[in-house]
């Protein structure tokens, strides 16, 4: 039982991070390298899921993903049911972790000397090669840190997930949801076991990241 919940939590967390990472890295790069008038608005908008009550984010997602929302006709036409599925849990965790990842990436890219990118260009490297051989490796510490933050945030996600994915044992019940459900049932012992599992998972992820990052610390 506990094993299954941990497994679902890990799956949801990993899928959410993988889903959020590519757009978050791209957006972080744009925010670090480009100046445009709407930039403060974009930055504020990106931060919203982090500062809004997660329950409100969940409600927003419910509207977007539900058959009765504005996109309802689309979902019905595609015959897709997202609400109360594991996909919805993944989406909720991704949305909530996205701002952390964007912020970390923006900072990491901003610290990369743009001159190095220009030198790489002058040496014949196209935009993609410059990004993957110079910019991303030099920003990798910060980007990886953002990935780990988003992942651990996804592991603990509760409010938005509860609204849009429900607490369905064996399908959408992650650790945070499981703990809440056990407390509601008065099953303190089970709740504490799940708490311990959460603790171990979060500590393991952060510790693993710190050790990994320490090993690949780039030279000054």
């Amino acid at each position: 039982m506990t094993g299954e919940i941990v497994w679902i939590t890990l799956q949801v967390g990993a899928a959410a991070t993988l889903l959020a990472a590519p757009p978050a890295i791209a957006l972080g790069y744009v925010l670090a390298r480009r100046e445009f008038r709407a930039k403060p608005w974009v930055q504020a908008g990106v931060a919203l899921p982090m500062v809004l009550p997660p329950v409100a984010v969940g409600l927003g997602l419910l509207l977007l993903l539900g058959h009765r929302g504005p996109l309802g006709p689309l979902w019905r036409a595609l015959d897709v049911q997202l609400v109360f599925t594991r996909a919805a849990a993944v989406l909720a965790a991704a949305v909530v972790g996205f701002p952390l990842l964007v912020r970390a990436c923006e900072q990491a890219f901003a610290e990369v000397d743009p001159r190095l990118e220009r030198v790489a260009r002058s040496l014949g490297a196209g935009a993609a090669r410059v990004f993957f051989r110079v910019t991303l490796p030099l920003a990798s510490r910060g980007v990886l840190y953002g990935v780990v933050l988003a992942f651990t945030r996804a592991l603990g996600e509760f409010g938005a997930t509860a609204i849009v994915a429900g607490i369905l044992p064996g399908r959408t019940e992650t650790l945070a949801l499981g703990i809440y459900a056990r407390i509601q049932l008065g099953d303190d012992r089970e709740a504490l076991i799940l708490c311990a599992a959460s603790f171990a998972l979060a500590l393991g992820a952060m510790l693993g990241a710190e050790i990994f990052l320490r090993r690949r610390t780039s030279p000054p």
């Binding site: 220009r118 030198v119 260009r121 040496l123 014949g124 030099l138 030279p219």
Partner: protein, 358 residues
């Protein structure tokens, strides 16, 4: 009349600064000379293609890189070997990976270029090093090798010695001269150091306030009228106003408002009373503590030291000899002579060292 091999023409207005340049030349090694803020770096960026939206004409080595009437070549297809200031090595790559960066899969040709770059800059012993383990001079050599190994059709050197102290400069300079002489590449060399400009270039293009103020052989151009205010801005030279007192034996005796009397050669006839402007380089003034005996130098002038100022490669000695002059000596000489504010000295100036500016 065929077109010159090299041409840069661009007009670019920024907040508070306008770069307006149209210069063409044929010499293989050209020096772009000017103080900081004169537009050298912006001009270099235009040549590199880093301002894609700016209309410019750029032709280097007979190859057109940009033309206002056509699509400009993007920066990654200009085949220019750029050695930026302070080397800008990729910190996450080894020395060898840095040098290889510009020819990732060039096969035999790339291997040959890598071998040549390692040989010319004597980097073989360092190829496996991390860049963080290199000294300043080594970093600069790696940056030059990286540019060479990419198979460039021209080299752009942006103040390659500016970040190095004098002893290191002396160690890197021979490599630069070797690159200049052994490889038949057009070179555009940016510097604000007149000595470097004279040593390296066949042609000097002098930039000030975003405009070309002079072009010509470095030795002549750096002393020209147009460059004069620039020399003063660089704080290197003595400029004196003087009037001719007498002329005899092909030499004129002139006197400054402060009462400094100097002898200088006069190839053309000079009427007594006519006004002159003279230039004198700081390192062309010798300083003697004891009065020198019989000596060929025509000017031996008593003076008092006002202050001494250590600079990168020596000591600037500010003296008062009727006029305020600055001489440049080595730190060792300043120490040995005990030069300090108040020291009485004799300035020894060859007549030939006095340049007539106007």
């Amino acid at each position: 009349m065929s077109e010159p091999a090299h041409r840069i023409a661009v007009r670019l207005a920024r907040a508070g600064f306008t770069l307006d340049v149209d210069v063409a030349w044929n010499e293989r090694v050209a020096v772009l000379f000017g103080p900081s803020g004169s537009g050298k770096s912006t001009l270099l960026e235009v040549v590199l293609g880093l301002h894609p939206r700016v209309h410019a004409t750029v032709r280097i080595g007979g190859r057109t890189l940009a033309d206002p009437h056509a699509t400009a070549l993007p920066a990654d297809r200009r085949d220019l070997g750029w050695v930026p200031q302070e080397s800008a090595l990729f910190p996450h790559l080894s020395v060898e990976a840095n040098i290889r960066f510009g020819s990732p899969r060039a096969g035999a040709a790339g291997a040959a270029r890598l071998a040549q770059a390692l040989a010319v800059l004597e980097l073989e012993p360092l190829r496996a090093r991390r860049t963080s383990e290199l000294s300043g001079g080594e970093r600069q050599r790696v940056a030059i090798a990286r540019a060479l190994a990419s198979g460039p059709r021209a080299l752009l050197l942006d103040e390659p010695l500016a970040s190095l102290d004098l002893p290191l400069r002396a160690r890197v300079l021979p490599y630069l001269l070797r690159v200049r002489d052994e490889l038949d590449l057009p070179i555009l060399y940016i510097t604000h150091d007149p000595d470097e400009a004279i040593l390296v270039g066949e042609l000097a293009i002098v930039l000030d306030g975003g405009r070309v103020v002079a072009t010509g052989p470095p030795r002549e151009v750096l002393w020209s009228r147009a460059v004069l205010p620039l020399s003063e801005a660089l704080g290197l030279e003595n400029v004196l106003e003087a009037r001719v007192r007498s002329v005899a034996d092909g030499a004129a005796r002139v006197e400054t408002p402060g009462g400094l009397v100097l002898s200088l050669p006069t190839p053309a006839a000079l009427a007594p009373g006519s006004a002159l402007r003279l230039g004198l380089r700081a390192q062309d003034i010798l300083i003697a503590v004891d009065p020198p005996g019989r000596i060929s130098a025509r000017n031996v002038i008593p003076a008092v030291v006002r202050s001494c100022e250590a600079v990168g490669d020596g000591v600037l000695v500010h003296v008062d000899a009727g006029e305020k002059l600055v001489a440049k000596v080595t730190a060792g000489a300043a120490r040995e002579l005990g030069l300090a504010a108040g020291t009485n000295v004799h300035l020894v100036i060859k007549a030939q060292a006095l340049r007539r500016l106007a």
